[in-house]
């Protein structure tokens, strides 16, 4: 991207000043994910001026957008060409940006079959803590020149630098989709998902809650129809299914709302990322399962240690998505050796520790 760009130049100047004076900066796009991660602190650095799609070549399956571009604008541009962000990033509220999507690294229901945000990031321009504008990766899928820094930045919650522009691999919208519903308890649902995984079926997403499993199929028309016949269940009305998956993706489905009752019970929303074949994980409260069993949301009043222990025993980790008490730490604690590498990387990208202090871990 053009270093002479006046908006970028202003950001460079702000970072340069913050570097000189060791002023903490709170990198801010649409502000739709402020609840996620540690409490934001510092002088705001606004990325929304850095907006617009820089290049989009549908035949390349790549779009390059500046960080402040609204996610909704990007998705509309893709939709016009019959393409999409296959990993379905959640839109918690209107106004979210491309930079925020990448910094959070969160993906929606289809992640289990198509891959994560980082799997689709091909390149990035980053403003590091020394106010240097750096470009890593590119606009091509196969690229092994140098370390894959742009993918390291995905999900880093802004602690290593300001994302300025990002190139993302996109995919055509599936020719056909269908949603099937099954009234199964948790054990049966998990068992079935497990056995389907080893078969060549076009399962794109799944969600289980309150005794009902939803399975979304996507792919070639003939393949989707054949799978519908094979799996059985009750076929959902397409428009209704579309709206339902959108609510799951954006966490607007009722389960995800922390209402007065759950607030009164001091319940938190936990995200447990575990091996898909972990079997049932039992905690007090209510559960929503995605990713064929690899993602378990728990709305629970249980102690943080209990939740983290349950996830760790299953071979995964637990994140406090929306918490009654964030003093327990949002992300699972790291081993000493990994924390040492995290500190080394922070030092390498942002030696004065100006970017988003404490957003990922205390001290970073």
């Amino acid at each position: 991207m053009d270093a002479q760009d006046p908006v970028l130049a202003r950001l460079v100047e702000q970072v340069s000043g913050a570097h000189a004076h060791q002023t903490p900066l709170d990198i801010r796009g649409g502000g739709t994910k402020l609840f996620y991660g540690g409490v934001p602190a510092g002088e705001p650095l606004d990325t929304t001026g850095l907006a617009g799609i820089s290049s989009y070549e549908p035949t390349e399956l790549v779009v390059t957008a500046r960080a402040g571009t609204r996610l909704s604008d990007l998705e509309s541009a893709l939709e016009e060409q019959g393409q999409c962000l296959p990993f379905e990033p959640p839109r918690f509220a209107a106004g979210g940006t491309v930079g925020g999507m990448v910094a959070a690294g969160l993906a929606g229901p289809a992640r289990v079959s198509v891959g994560s945000v980082r799997d689709h990031v091909l390149g990035m321009t980053l403003l590091n803590g020394r106010a240097e504008v750096l470009t890593f990766g590119g606009q091509v899928a196969k690229n092994v020149a140098g370390y894959d820094v742009s993918r390291l930045i995905v999900g880093s919650l802004g602690i290593l630098g300001v994302i300025c522009e990002v190139s993302i691999k996109v995919l055509p919208v599936s020719v056909a989709t269908a949603t099937l519903r099954f009234d199964w308890d948790e054990t049966r649902a998990l068992r079935q998902l497990c056995s389907w995984r080893a078969q060549p079926l076009p399962i794109n997403a799944s969600a289980w809650h309150g005794g009902r499993l939803h399975v979304r199929l996507a792919g070639a028309r003939a393949a989707v129809e054949a799978a519908c016949r094979r799996l059985g269940g009750e076929r959902a009305e397409p428009a209704q299914a579309l709206a339902w998956w959108d609510r799951v993706r954006d966490q607007r489905e009722e389960f995800f709302l922390i209402n007065e009752t759950s607030a009164a019970r001091r319940e938190s929303m936990w995200r447990l990322s575990v091996p898909a074949n972990s079997g049932a994980i039992t905690l007090p409260g209510e559960q929503f399962i995605e990713w064929n069993g690899a993602l378990r949301w728990w709305k629970t009043g249980a102690e943080a240690a209990l939740v983290r222990d349950a996830a760790a025993r299953a071979g995964g980790h637990a994140t406090l998505m929306r918490g009654a008490d964030e003093s327990v730490g949002v992300f699972a604690p790291l081993s000493e050796v990994l924390m040492r590498v995290h500190r080394g990387l922070k030092e390498a990208f942002d030696p004065k520790r100006i970017f988003n202090p404490g957003r990922l871990y205390a001290g970073l």
């Binding site: 070549e57 035949t59 390349e60 393409q83 992640r111 289990v112 994560s116 799997d119 390149g123 240097e132 750096l134 470009t135 890593f136 590119g138 606009q139 091509v140 899928a141 196969k142 690229n143 092994v144 020149a145 140098g146 370390y147 894959d148 993918r151 390291l152 995905v154 999900g155 190139s167 055509p172 919208v173 080893a198 078969q199 060549p200 792919g219 070639a220 003939a222 393949a223 990322s273 091996p275 898909a276 990713w291 690899a294 993602l295 071979g315 995964g316 980790h317 994140t319 992300f331 699972a332 790291l334 081993s335 050796v337 990994l338 590498v341 500190r343 080394g344 990387l345 390498a348 990922l360």
Partner: protein, 498 residues
Amino acid sequence: MNISLRSEPAHAVWEQRQKNVVAALEVVLPRAAILFRHEDTAPFECDALTAYRTSPMVVVLPETEAQVAAVLKICHKMEVPVVARGAGTGLSGGATPHAMGVVLSLAKFNKMTIDPVSCTAVVQCGVRNLAISEAAAAYGLYYAPDPSSQIACTIGGNVAENSGGVHCLKYGLTLHNVLRVRGFMVDGEPVDFGSQALDAAGLDLLSIVIGSEGMLAVTIEVTVKLIPKPLLARCIMASFSDIESAGAAVASVIAHGIIPAGLEMMDRAMTAAVEAFVHADYDLEAAAILLCESDGTPEEVGEEILRMEAVLNAAGASRIEVSRDEAQRLKFWSGRKNAFPASGGISPDYMCMDSTIPRRCLAQMLQAIQQMEVKYNLRCVNVFHAGDGNLHPLILFDAEEADQMRRCELFGADILETSVSLGGTVTGEHGVGVEKLNSMCVQFSAAERAQFLGVKRAFDPRELLNPGKVIPTLQRCAEYGKMHVHRGMLPFPELPRF
């Protein structure tokens, strides 16, 4: 690298150093697992980039994880560089030894466990890529990344290089198919990157360790995803009478929302070379041939092949043939898979390039290469992973003739610089190693290279793991720039960046 060691005092210092390192290693390894006589270490002097050779000070062949940890601890304490090595099939010199260092051969770590329920395999680093799919076949599963060297290359090397393969357009690279890497930090401390789940807490270190060419950590065990084997695969072989329409056809397939399982291109010169080698009835009249594959359930494949045929016809294909059965499909692929040996049959030597460009620039790039053939007075045959814009031009030359070697290197550099100027990259899948250090000066600024070094130091502060690879020094880049001006080639402007 070891030229400066030929002088007597330096050699004496080297011998003493070798003696000390061997003595320290003998405490933790059986004698048979330590090689240091020249005749024993000679097989480790190079990887598949045989033009670069360095005699290692010591080679160790540990058999247990405890031994690996102990070797790393000793080397870290004595500040000895360590170069991890798998099968040695790498094409960019990523496993070229260090003259003052230890080669850590991990070939003996060759066990794996398949878990058909979770559709994963836990694989030790020395297991061959193809062996994973062979073991998983009993459960109807396979490991998708299939680099051409898959019979020989190991999963540890695949992690180091982020290897792709013919099918990565649809199924992704090593990065997309690995859940977890377990191994050791440079000081011998055990470490886990990623997890058995789909993500892990903290920064995504797994994505930077994969493709780091053995410079950040030592890989011992890899958890890979297995996917159900497609029930059917069929391949279309399409001929085009000019390069432009073949290039446009590739873009058109993608534009129609089709992601083929494989989409490969060969030019006429390459087709002629492979036809002489495999006799697969390739169309020798065509300016370019496309191989376009569909896989999945019979319903999916049937539907997709029809769509592919329609798109290729509309793009002006002069001949289209769809594989009738598995035997014919394999025959279609036989030439493509034998592109390298076939090139060996028509020229004493060849140099394989590996840049990637945006798909839309394929025809433009081929034309540029045709002009370079005239400019450097050397022939070039072309195989492309067209679907993902990854080029493997093979420049034919005779190493016996000094000037041909020189012209070949200039030809190669020209291809790489042209690729970068088109918005591409100097290496799509073979890695930087030692071979493309100069090209890194073209693709990355000094600040970007310094940032790479910062990443390296976050993992390995003393820079002992595979030092001297991937990141060129400032001085080297300055000299490379000067050399180009001197030779009257492209000067060294900041090339357009993307």
